[in-house]
Point group: C3
Chain length 442, copies 3
């Protein structure tokens, strides 16, 4: 992870252009990626693919001819998508093109102007305050050319065609939590899932520039997603070890991943909190959950955008994010996906009357209040296990989901995994099925 | 309003007869009315139209020959629907036919006996206590004749055939809040609605004697109402300026007008409180909401029947009611109807991915946390407006009503009116539709 | 009841065998029973009918040759379903076959080993502690033979083929609350119901050995029950006069009997508390509510199993249970069944507009606030009765159940019985119907 992060961090990415392409190529060394490009000018729903932005150099020289701002020091210094400039001007004129954050005087802000032609520089407020009157030379060597918008995905097949989407964005320059935490976590989550002995679902990992990229992805694959998507997650801002997970529900509010994450948080299988869906802010779930698609996709985060000082400025560093936090995010996302795989509808194969538990070695063979002392068969007098067996056999009717049964047992569905496996081994249960099966019920 | 009130007040109305007819004729000078009559003796569901009651004079003379009670002083003095009498009798016998309110010694009660033959006089308790032994002469010059039960309505057409019913009663003698507040408010509400540049619904204004009149109206127009009624209101007791509105829900409890009024009260677009439907007391909503019709009709009131001292007696005066209160009632009822017109289901015309807001001049063209200072296009950095635009575009899917979306925005639906209009102008929204439209949703 | 109890108490019952047969024969003298037998070895779902257990004598003689434990003193002394033994042994060896309750040193526990071959004796802990070293002689004269599992039922016909099930078990030796309270209450409840002038439902009374017996009953009659059962109750532990009723809901949680019992408890027509369904413990409702049947059957109890000191030991006596408690249980169960008979969907026969109450002698004929004094017709000014008449006529639309209407009236449905009967007599209502009737509603 460290290595992948360090290779991606210095690249000047934007929503199009060489930085984006190079980043996707590097990611492709960590998981098998299929690459796509959408040509400049093509319409994608209400949007249009912009020209590619290519930036080679940018600086401002002061009255004494020395470089006081240099793109080579930090790619945040240049207004993202700046048009070229090469002109001398007064400090007053220059200042119309300078962006700072007065309340964070050391930070370089991250500013973009994708859809209106502008040029500009971003710098620490303290530096701007030190500038003296005189003639300044602003230089940006950039151009906007016809090209394409790049994105990539990787399909990890499973037993079913029903898919789980993992989508993350890659389009910001040198920022850690709000840019690289998503794709780095996604790449290593892919590797984790690829190592599972079996996968019930097919997993679709998507890497796109934010907003325009996910809109473009939906333009190309939206119909397929509508047909096959079971649930999904947008990954963003997954750094910050001291922060618990933070989950934003899908627009539906009760899609499978919404239910499972809320359940795992409630029964403290995972630490985390829930945010309700809103179209007002967020990441690409806003596109997946636009009304024409309304896909069952939530968003998982940790140190949430807007809620930490480094958001959209140069303080968003690897030290603040930490690689350890990404490792924990991979572990916790794997838990969520395992729970999604485990959940579903199970069917008791001996549904008429109770199962004769002792016959299946599931019950002490002596009926006496002080069983633990006297029972001679091999079944430990484990009352909690016995209670869960009885609950599962009674409620696994194809109508209650495992999650609902777990809640009746007052435990997390992952707590039921060993008993589910034991009952499947003994051919007393079948499942999980994705949809309820009503055949048994009156 | 003052003039209409003063012309109607002195008339001795009952559920049939010349007083009712004269009152409807006067109302017909203020709004165009179509008049109807149902002949005496006709069956209307479980009821039968009674004979018309005609009253010319009524008095009681004391032992000294002077009139101690005189119908000409107040038409409340005579038991409504009294049979004729012309007989001398002792005080004891007379007292069997006198009605008073002991705890309100100055008030003349309002008493009726429509369906059993009786004669009687109503008077202040203090006056009755002063009566001395002797021979009294009771005289009532009335008769009951075959005639008809009169009622009237006015249809104010709109763009749709779906109707909103405004129903009020006219059948009590000289009382203000519990008689004239309804028809006077209804007449002026009609004029207000007639001045609107467009009406989405057709409005049906109905003036009937209470109970038997609305039953007769339903006998004649009930099938039509079942077919075309969208929602409706019974108006009664709309005086009392210091009283907020008081709304009694329809039997359904969640008909459009129930939802809208409850919403406007909750978000304090209007001051008011809610009463749940009950068939135990009330006005003509009891008939509209009888189980065979179960129409979506609530009842709007202010100084509610039974809850003020003047209810059904001579203290129910113009001074207690006030014309100002009726004016406020017209204003507030207009707000309710405007909200009903605005509500419905809207559909985003660019539902796939987010709308590109800047393209439609709905978004600042620079993405920077301190936008307000730097943005150069004409869109004010009005965060609340932007949030509402995003909420409307996301949730206007034809399935959420505007009322539901407003509640997600934590505002009244009337607060959304300017944004709805702007988005319709920009062809981003279509609507409102009366019914959900599912075509877009998976 | 006393007599029936005293005849049944001494018999050594088990899940099969002569004691069970004799007990069913005796019950057959109190209500007409149809007897059934399922042969040893037949499979019943996941179970198999065991051999019959026949026990003739059992004792332990001490080193001095005297009987220190004797089956003739209490049939609890022998481990139920013991294999035969006739052997001398040391105290240490004997102790492996002795069962006591250390914390209840005077009680003989009730222990069974139906499905694994064992022999053993149960005795007071104090007695076991007094045993001295030496040679003991253990003797059990029992055998296990091919025979049958016996059970019985009685069908009490009603106007409808829809059935209510009353099921209770008979399979324990000499215990009162946890054995005989059920069948004795059921037998006398049958006689109570047989004396009703009319029964809306058909009643099915079932007497089975617990668990294996109800599974066998379902194997034979389950399809019939799935088709015709409206609701049902398992009766168990109905003694303990100081204990209120305790109801365990059916698995469905909202079957008719669940709703009615919860309602009667809530409106204090009966004292009692509710337990939610669980498959973890309980009685034969676990079989009736197994997922393949999921029948609408709850369980009624009073001094609940597991919650009193005498549970499954010799302290479960007639004195603790009391015959008075069983009489009260019969009364209270009759109330529940009467409420089930009364509940249902009623339909107003004059649903258009209000019913003209005075025409049907349901209303004072004078409209005046002080009616009680003045009204001359025969209708008492009983405001509560009038309110309930209005509520019933409005809400009896075939869609609201009587129970729901009672809750709107804030009273128990049994409080509405006289008014329901009066309105049926006046041909204003029809019903009750078991299913909602929608024809009237828009």
């Amino acid at each position: 992870m460290d290595e992948l992060f360090d290779r991606l961090f210095p690249i000047c990415r934007s929503i199009t252009g060489p930085g984006l392409r190079e980043s996707l190529e590097i990611l492709g060394e960590y998981l098998p990626l299929e690459h796509f490009g959408q040509p400049t000018g093509s319409p994608v729903f209400d949007w249009q693919i912009p020209k590619e932005w290519r930036i080679r150099d940018a600086w401002v020289k002061g009255p004494d001819g020395s470089k006081i701002i240099d793109f080579k020091d930090s790619n945040l210094h240049v207004l993202n998508y700046s048009v070229p400039i090469d002109r001398r001007m007064s400090l007053d004129e220059l200042k119309k093109h300078l962006f700072t954050i007065p309340h964070m005087p050391e930070a370089i802000p991250y500013v973009t102007s994708y859809y209106k032609e502008r040029w500009g520089f971003c710098l620490p407020h303290r530096l701007m305050e030190q500038l003296e009157e005189g003639t300044y030379h602003a230089y940006i060597d950039s151009d906007h050319v016809d090209g394409e918008l790049n994105f990539a995905h990787s399909i990890l097949p499973g037993e079913s065609d029903r898919e789980i989407l993992i989508s993350t964005y890659i389009c910001h320059p040198s920022m850690a939590n709000n840019e690289l935490s998503g794709p780095v976590t996604a790449a290593f989550l892919y590797r984790r899932l690829a190592s599972w002995p079996r996968r019930r679902f097919t997993y679709r990992f998507v890497f796109v520039p934010e907003t325009i990229g996910s809109i473009t992805y939906l333009h190309r694959f939206g119909a397929k997603l509508k047909e096959s998507l079971y649930s999904g997650l947008v990954l963003t801002c997954l750094g910050g070890l001291e922060h618990p997970l933070s989950y934003k529900t899908s627009r539906r509010g009760s899609s499978p991943v919404d239910q499972v994450v809320e359940h795992l948080f409630r029964f403290q299988s995972l630490q985390g909190n829930i945010r309700s869906f809103t179209p007002i802010n967020g990441s690409d779930e806003r596109q997946y959950c636009s009304p024409g698609f309304n896909l069952p996709v939530g968003q998982m985060s940790r140190m949430v955008y807007n809620c930490y000082p480094g958001y959209h400025n140069s303080c968003d560093t690897k030290e603040v994010m930490t690689i350890e936090a990404l490792q924990q995010s991979v572990d916790e996302l794997e838990s969520v996906l395992k729970a999604l795989e485990l959940n579903g509808f199970y069917v008791n194969q001996r549904p008429f009357g109770e199962v004769k538990l002792d016959k299946h070695d599931l019950y002490p063979d002596l009926n006496f209040p002080l069983n633990g002392i006297y029972s001679s068969n091999n079944v430990a007098d484990n009352r909690m296990q016995l209670d869960r067996i009885l609950m599962l056999l009674n409620y696994c009717d194809g109508c209650y989901s495992l999650l609902e049964i777990a809640e009746k047992c007052n435990c997390s569905l992952t707590d039921l995994e060993p008993i589910i496996n034991m009952l499947i081994d003994k051919q007393l249960l079948k499942g999980p099925f994705l949809e309820p099966r009503n055949e048994m019920m009156t």
